[in-house]
Amino acid sequence: MAVHTITITVNGAQERLEVPSNMTLLQMLREKLALTGTKNGCEAGECGACTVLVDGEPANSCMMLAVEADGHEVLTVEGLSPEGKLSPVQQAFVQHNAIQCGYCTPGMLMSAHALLRRDPHPTTEEIQEAIVGNLCRCTGYVRIIDAIQTVAKEG
């Protein structure tokens, strides 16, 4: 199988990596760069646990090849708090107890982060629409939506 040399910017740092053709962006992040914040859920684009931002836009990293990300910028949940200081959305998730098992949280945060960047004041419906592709099986969505709404109001 072919191996490709790619140059990719992950959380602001440029990386030069060797990736086999069939390696997903998710596998590259977790297993080449040890960025295990991004989770592997359904591997079919349903659950959104693997959501990262590619050039600022959310994508399911399990449904994208690492080689496709050559030359692009990727932001993962680790990149939301580069100096260990929680981002406003992360802070709001903590304050609203919008976390239970936490498995969906990184993906939820990335979708919320992207939403607030493209629209700093979304309506409840727009928030719901933005996280349709992020499934939570324990906390439920009310607290998550409340948390995102808090940032939207304060922002």
Partner: protein, 296 residues
């Protein structure tokens, strides 16, 4: 190598030209699969339904990610244009709101950032959200193959679930939509198991504009998820062409649309329910479009 099985082995190639794609498809036949957004390809690879030796990424072809519009030529959408690109594009929203609405109805925001118009159509799932819109907008599909380019009307493209009129080594480069009729109104109604995010259980696209037919209006109805392919409800359209719209005529047309459908009972719903919903959604769409035509 990895904790999870992940994807099977293949060689990834990025094509730079359409002819390069053709030569790879000719060389590898069924062992080559084209990649655009991958939202249908990757689950098939993972499930073992497909075992390609080569995956050819066509997103880098010139123009394949472009949208262009002018009032005379209409709209041309490159096959690898994403659903979010379509749903958000100012010309698409202004002149083809039905297409923007259908693209925005696909799956989730993340998926719409990757899923492409060409992929949605070529995958030929009966439930493809953009297919009923392509049918009623009377889109033309631009295909390119070993013998050069050709154009196939949307209505002749879908042959069965997963089956299209694409010939071996042929692929879709773009979709062209004729200029919109003056005063056109259209609506896409999608029913899933939940409000958004699901595959369509029933998808109905209704389009109407005033014309010179005996009824004074031309209506087109596209149905998704309720037959082996996306279909036009021709008999319903004939009813609407022959009599001026009234509540009775709209109801009769909705009844005909229901009869045009042939859904199957599956995990998402029974055939009987889907048929009944074709009638309800068609009637709702017709009322909405008729009302907008009346006030225009």
């Amino acid at each position: 190598m990895f904790a999870r099985p992940g994807l099977p082995s293949f060689d990834y190639l990025r094509a730079e030209t359409a002819d390069q794609v053709i030569s790879l498809l000719l060389k590898h036949g069924d062992a080559a699969k084209l990649l655009m957004g991958g939202t249908d390809l990757f689950p098939s690879l993972r499930d073992g339904a497909l075992h390609p030796q080569v995956v050819v990424d066509v997103k880098g072809l010139p123009g394949i990610r472009d949208i262009s519009y002018d009032a005379v030529q209409g709209l041309t959408v490159g096959a690898a244009v994403t659903m979010n690109q379509l749903a958000q594009h100012p010309d698409v929203r202004a002149h083809y709101p039905l297409l923007a609405q259908a693209a925005g109805a696909v799956a989730s925001y993340q998926i719409r950032n990757r899923a492409t118009l060409g992929g949605n159509l070529c995958n030929a799932s009966p439930c493809a959200d953009t297919a009923p819109a392509a049918l009623v907008l009377e889109a033309q599909f631009l295909l390119y193959g070993p013998n050069g380019g050709r154009t196939v009307p949307a209505g002749e493209f879908f042959l069965g679930p997963g089956k299209t009129s694409l010939q071996p080594a042929e692929f879709m480069t773009a979709v062209s939509f004729p200029p919109p009729a003056v005063g056109v109104a259209a609506q896409y109604l999608k029913l899933g198991r939940c409000k958004t995010g699901d595959l369509a259980l029933v998808g109905v696209a209704v389009l109407g504009f005033k014309d010179g037919t005996p009824s004074g209006c031309c209506f087109r109805i596209g149905l998704g998820s309720v037959a082996p392919t996306p279909i036009r409800a021709a008999q319903a359209e004939e009813v609407l062409a022959s009599a001026a719209p009234s509540e009775e005529v709209l109801a009769l047309a909705a009844e005909k649309a229901m009869r045009a459908s042939s859904p199957i009972t599956d995990v998402r719903g029974t055939a009987e329910y889907q048929k009944a919903m074709v009638r309800s959604l068609t009637l709702r769409g017709l009322r909405e479009v008729w009302q907008r035509l009346s006030v225009a």
